[in-house]
Each structure stands twice: as structure tokens, then as C-alpha cells.
Subunit: 166 residues, 3 copies
């Protein structure tokens, strides 16, 4: 965005660029941040909305996109309701669709891991969300909240927040 006293883009475009003209533009901006988590149980949901909102402010981006993704393949980032009953329902439902036990039912667990179910659960809940930034803020509906979903916790994991725009 042109600052105060700087000719707007439209005016610039109309005038040839000469020595009197400030060559000013909207520069593309970006911000990259990695969030760290260590969920104490195997599974859990963490509300990261305010953290992401803070990063969007820090980026200075007014119009753009904000990508938030799990960097681990047994975890999710998703947008839904901040309601504990619903989180209980997600937990029960995912366990029904992709049960943890018996761990021997999964070939992946022959590698010595016991987290095959976590790789499946993460596909249901998704790896990432892309959120619009409008007038410097996440352009959210009334109940949208961003969650980190852990399906194989008890160790450090990361989420990437990438903001691009102008």
C-alpha cells in the first residue's frame, strides 16, 4: 500500500516515470514462522488461532493468503469449532474410522512404529488450511478457529505458518 503522501498506483501509472516522480509500488511481502508443539498424550487438539492472528499482524500483509500446515505426517491443521464436546466426538469418530488397535492390523507398523492409524486419521482431518487475509486480518466466518490436531504425540512437532501478499 502506498504510504501517506506517496502517489497512488493509479496516478503513477498515468504519469511517465521522471525525476519528479516517486517510483513507488506495492511490494509483495512474506512471513515464515514455525510453531512448536509437544502434546503430552497420543492425541489432542490445540487452538492456534490467536497465534496465527498475531503472525498475520506481524507480517504487515493487508491482502493475501495465510497457509498453516502440519510439518509432520501424523498430525493435522484444520478449521472447526472451539467446543470440547465436538472435539470428543472427533476423537471417537476418528478412532472408529481408523482404530489404533490392534496395531498388528497395519503393515506400516511392521517397521517398528505403532502409529499407522495416525497417518490415516490425519488424511481425514487434513494437512493444511489456507485462509484469506483481508484488510490485515484473517477473513473468518463467525465460528472458524484453527486447530492443530495431534494423532501421535508425546514428542516435539512443528507447524508452518506462511503469509504472502501485499
Amino acid at each position: 500500500m502506498p504510504g501517506p503522501g506517496v502517489p497512488a498506483v493509479a496516478a503513477l501509472a498515468a504519469a511517465p516515470c521522471k525525476s519528479e516522480v516517486v517510483c513507488h509500488n506495492t511490494y509483495m511481502k512474506s512471513l515464515t514462522e514455525h510453531l512448536e508443539f509437544e502434546v503430552p498424550n497420543r492425541r489432542g487438539f490445540v487452538n492456534i488461532t490467536s497465534t496465527v492472528e498475531g503472525l498475520v499482524r506481524k507480517s504487515g500483509v493487508r491482502e493475501g493468503l495465510c497457509l498453516v500446515n502440519a510439518m509432520h505426517i501424523t498430525a493435522s491443521v484444520f478449521i472447526n469449532d472451539n467446543e470440547s464436546g465436538l472435539h470428543h466426538d472427533y476423537e471417537a469418530w476418528l478412532e472408529k474410522l481408523a482404530p489404533h488397535a490392534p496395531t498388528s492390523q497395519y503393515e506400516h507398523n511392521r517397521t517398528g512404529e505403532d502409529n499407522a492409524d495416525a497417518h490415516l486419521k490425519r488424511q481425514i482431518m487434513g494437512r493444511e488450511v489456507v485462509v484469506a487475509i483481508t484488510k490485515g486480518q484473517l477473513d473468518f466466518g463467525p465460528w472458524e478457529q484453527i486447530f492443530y490436531g495431534e494423532f501421535d504425540g508425546r514428542r516435539r512437532k512443528r507447524v508452518l505458518v506462511k503469509v504472502i501478499g501485499e
Copy 2:
């Protein structure tokens, strides 16, 4: 954005600012629109492809990305086939994976709502799609169509379309 009567970016680019100085740029553009829906039944699918195509044209973006997302957490935006038999199959399949009744099976419904299943169904079908814009158009495969998926209708809901690019 340059207004009417303002030289287009390409023309500007063709003319040197002065002999020594080349002021040359592509400007980043963006467009934000909110679509409104009121699906008369609890569940339904609405083809929004042509609406989104119109917004991409309106944006003037030639190369970029188009984000289309449900702003409500009991609804989806997804890309699939415009075929009524398939939509029937989605309906039956989602009801099998995340049944609406008995509503008492979900803790979320203890809040007085009866839409826990809608929060689950939306995770299967997804919140959003990101579509490439190439040469001013949605860069689609032969059968790709964008749908709004409603899982708890009979009230007003919104979808966000955000276009960024140049």
C-alpha cells in the same frame, strides 16, 4: 488497481521512464467476495463454478491463485463431478460414515444443537479449494466443478472467494 482510462501495466512497461531508468513492475492484485447461500433442506450441493469464474474475470488477475472456502464449519467447498447420481452417492456415503441420528450419540449435541454430524461430514468433504489461475482463467481439468456442500442448511451461510495474483 489502475482505473478506467489509465494505461495498462503492459503499456507502462513498454515505455522507459527515462532513458537511464526503467521503472517496470507487475502489480499484485486481489479480489475478495462473499457469496450467500440459504439451502432449503438440511443437506444439499450447489454448483458455484460459473460464479467463481465470473469473479476471476472481474479480478483481472492473469496468473495467480483463487481460494474458495466455506465460512461456516458445517459446510464444505469441494471440487468434483457435476453428476446427480454421484451427489446422491456422496449423501448416502457421508450419512453412513457420520450418521445424523441418533443425535444423542454426539457430545456436541448436548449444547442444544443437532448438527454434530455436519461438523464431521464437512471434514471428509473439506473446507476449501485452491485453484490455479492461468491466462486469466481457472486452470481446470476436463470435469472439475466447484461445489458448495451444505450439511446443516435452512439458514444463511457464506462462502469466501479470494483471488490474488498479477
Copy 3:
């Protein structure tokens, strides 16, 4: 990115554009490529990580986003582990959640197709991934790999890679 010897963006903005000053900017860049696949069986997973990495390098984008999406509605692009046991588990799990046979259970198959299950499986695994580009590379966690997931193969299909950024 300003090259060596070029004034930084902040300095540029502060100084009027004079004859000695090269008005230099970060240009938005984009790259569009379509990958072709012909998976010999009905279903299969193809690791496309190194192909996408090569396209990001080709784009010259240092900070931005990379969208990779299936252009067909019976296929997926997803990020998970490059481990053959897990791929076997995905195959078995998807077949349990959305069985291919009997094909008569799906209304979509009354059109003469037999691929309704593929449209369902693709919703679980997703259409697309959006990956951050940081310092010229895909900003990946330790095990993230990009896969093309085919659920109705034995014919040519395409994946779109779109890079935008600066």
C-alpha cells in the same frame, strides 16, 4: 529480490526515483506445469516430490506458494510418508471406507461408469496440497513427500503444478 548493489526496498521507497537510481522491485513470478500420468492399474501411488522440487527451482521463486492438484476427479494429490507398508494400509483402508464392488451400490455407476468409489476415495485423500516455498525450496518437515494418488487408472491423467511468489 534486489540483486547485489541494488538499494534495498526501504531505501528505494524513501528516495525519489532519480536518473541514477534503478527503480528495482521484487517482481511477482509464476510457473505453470502439467504433469502426465498413466498408472497401469486401477489404483496406485506415485511419488512426485523430486519433480515438484525441480519445478520450484525452475520457477526462480524464493518466497511463495506451490499448489499441486489433481486435474481429474478420481485422483488425489496428498502429502504423507514414502513407506510401502503405509501405502498398502491406505489401499486397504480406502477400500473398506468406500468399496469398489458391488459397483451397483452406486447411482453414479448407472451412467455406465464403474468408478463411483474413486470419486469417494479421492475426497478422503484430497484434491490438492499447498506447500510453502522458503529460500527457494519447498519448506517441508522431515518426512513430507508429495504423492499422486490414482483411484481409476489405466488412462492418461494430469496434475497441475502452480508456483507463485517472488
